[in-house]
């Protein structure tokens, strides 16, 4: 039996969920895959310790968020793309909403974006989000408040998404 079998099993079970988190953080399929791959290599290195502690998933998520924030700090040269902006395509309301939300998320600071993903998509508690981001719970609260305010300012059309009582409560 390969000593990496346990790690493989963990990746097979969790990679799709982690990939979705990475995709929400980066907004780009290729970058998300790069991000997750580089984090999983780190996880593989520490696997014997992590599997003993029983919390590889929490570690992986934390590494994913930190690596994402670290990448965003590096200078980002504009990448030439062969894809031109799309014109004249019909979208339904849900698709339009996703496009607007995606554009607004791209304008958030990396930590703010991470808070949105962890708190409102992963449904982590304030304490868990703070643990993943390596900051105090109070910072998570203030970042969430600022992130939601910025989303409202960037995309007023999406205000109704942010008016659910649970979200208003978190941002208070």
């Amino acid at each position: 039996m390969d000593r990496h079998d346990d790690f493989r099993e963990f990746v097979l079970a969790r990679q799709q969920g982690l990939m979705r988190t990475a995709y929400l953080l980066t907004g780009d399929a290729h970058l998300a895959e790069d991000l997750l791959q580089s984090v999983l290599i780190k996880v593989a290195r520490r696997w014997s310790k992590l599997s003993g502690d029983g919390s590889p998933e929490a570690y992986t998520r934390k590494a994913l968020v930190n690596q994402y924030i670290s990448w965003k700090r590096r200078p980002q040269p504009e990448v030439l793309s062969a894809d031109l902006p799309e014109h004249g395509t019909c979208h339904d309301d849900a698709a339009l909403q996703r496009i607007m939300l995606r554009q607004a998320l791209a304008k958030l600071a990396p930590r703010q974006r991470a808070v949105i993903v962890l708190r409102f998509w992963e449904d982590l508690t304030e304490a868990q989000t703070a643990e993943a981001l390596g900051c105090a719970p109070g910072t998570v609260k203030s970042q969430a408040h600022r992130a939601l305010a910025r989303l409202r300012a960037l995309a007023p059309e999406l205000a109704y998404l942010l008016n659910d009582p649970e979200i208003v409560e978190v941002a208070r």
């Binding site: 290729h30 996880v43 793309s81």
Partner: protein, 368 residues
């Protein structure tokens, strides 16, 4: 479920399926090997230095310095690595006293958009006759084509899908001449190989999936392959031929002489180039590739001032109104998106050059 979560769920559902278990294990093993090699080299260096210092201090002056090459850049792995931003050759090593230039260590490397660099040892750098051998990258950075000495053919790598296709069409190494050129289609299916730029020696358009191939008139040089059409230019006259990969089409003659052609713009007919021999005047000419008419001449504004750099070419269109111009200095290469109406240039990216890299290859640009 909140409406925000529902919307985020919708975006998350667009994440592609991945299978990263083996890639992560392989990456971990590779890094461990690199660390072990580094540690071993460091140990040897320390032990060696200590022995020399303790036992033979008087012999130091006579020792010949042997440079230790500790290269931690990984080889391009077999699987997916993500799209690449550019490729380059490592420069020759220069040794002074006695002056010696060693080009034996030159190799092709690629840099992914996320910033990781890989060696591509399979890609031949120069032929037995010392002619440079090019690589080419598809417009979206997904595909890479290089010449393999072992296969005596071109190899197309899909760096996102993790697959590889070796062209069924053998090209003998001796056929690669001075200034050979290479271009690759977006889907990696079509490769144009021109054995010798500026000669009448015909090139070949290869369908790497089926092995079908057709000659390309040697009087023409390839600029790009886009949307199933190869853009070919005959210099001096100047003619531009939009040749479908299945053959056909006919050249259009421009009124004047032009060089450094861009790919065809998204409208399918506009092309940007520089008038020859006035190409140093920083004036872009916008041409109609259907009629051959000059649409306008646009002085470029916003490029670096000074004489230590020059426009060296054009590249992709970033939109229907902006085309990328490549500007090189001795230290770096920069790309600028130039508005074809106003001439205003804005810097897009910067690449290493000079002592760090040579033979920069950008996506979608035929290379030599």
């Amino acid at each position: 479920m909140t409406r925000l979560r529902e919307a985020l769920d919708g975006i998350a559902a667009e994440a592609p399926l991945v299978d990263l278990a083996d890639v992560a294990v392989a990456g971990h093993r590779r890094r461990r090997r690199a660390t072990a090699v580094l540690a071993a080299v460091a140990t040897v260096a320390v032990v060696g230095a200590a022995s020399v210092a303790v036992t033979l201090p008087w012999q130091r002056a006579d020792r010949t310095a042997t440079p230790q090459r500790v290269d931690t850049v990984a080889d391009l792995p077999d699987g997916a690595v993500g799209p690449i931003a550019y490729a380059f050759q490592t420069p020759c090593k220069t040794q002074s006293n006695p002056l010696r230039i060693d080009c034996g260590t030159v190799e092709w490397r690629v840099v992914t958009r996320s910033g990781r660099t890989y060696r591509v040892p399979q890609a031949l750098v120069s032929t037995a006759k010392d002619y440079s051998v090019p690589v080419a990258i598809s417009r979206d950075g997904r595909m890479l084509v290089y010449y393999s000495r072992q296969a005596q053919a071109h190899v197309v790598r899909d760096l996102v899908g993790g697959t590889q296709v070796t062209s069924p069409v053998t090209v003998k190494e001796e056929r690669i001449g001075v200034g050979s050129m290479l271009a690759l289609s977006d889907d990696g299916r079509y490769v144009i190989f021109d054995p010798r730029e500026g000669s009448k020696d015909p090139g070949v358009l290869i369908d790497v999936r089926t092995g079908r191939h057709r000659p390309v008139d040697g009087k023409y040089e390839v600029v790009s392959i886009k949307g199933g059409v190869a853009e070919l230019v005959r210099y001096v006259k100047t003619d531009l031929w939009q040749m479908p990969v299945a053959g056909g089409g006919r050249p259009v003659r421009f009124d004047g002489r032009f060089i450094m052609f861009s790919e065809i713009a998204p409208d399918g007919r506009t092309v940007a180039a520089f008038e020859f021999p006035d190409h140093t005047k920083r004036r872009l000419t916008v041409l109609d590739a259907k009629t051959g008419r000059t649409l306008r001449k646009v002085p470029m504004r916003g490029l670096p001032s000074g004489r230590d750099g020059a426009v060296t070419g054009t590249a992709l269109w970033t939109s229907g109104r902006e085309v990328v111009v490549v500007y090189g200095t001795k230290d770096d290469v920069r790309t600028y998106a130039v508005n074809i109406d106003t001439g205003k240039a804005r810097q897009v990216a910067r690449y290493p050059a000079g002592g760090k890299a040579q033979q920069l290859v950008l996506p979608g640009v035929a290379s030599q």
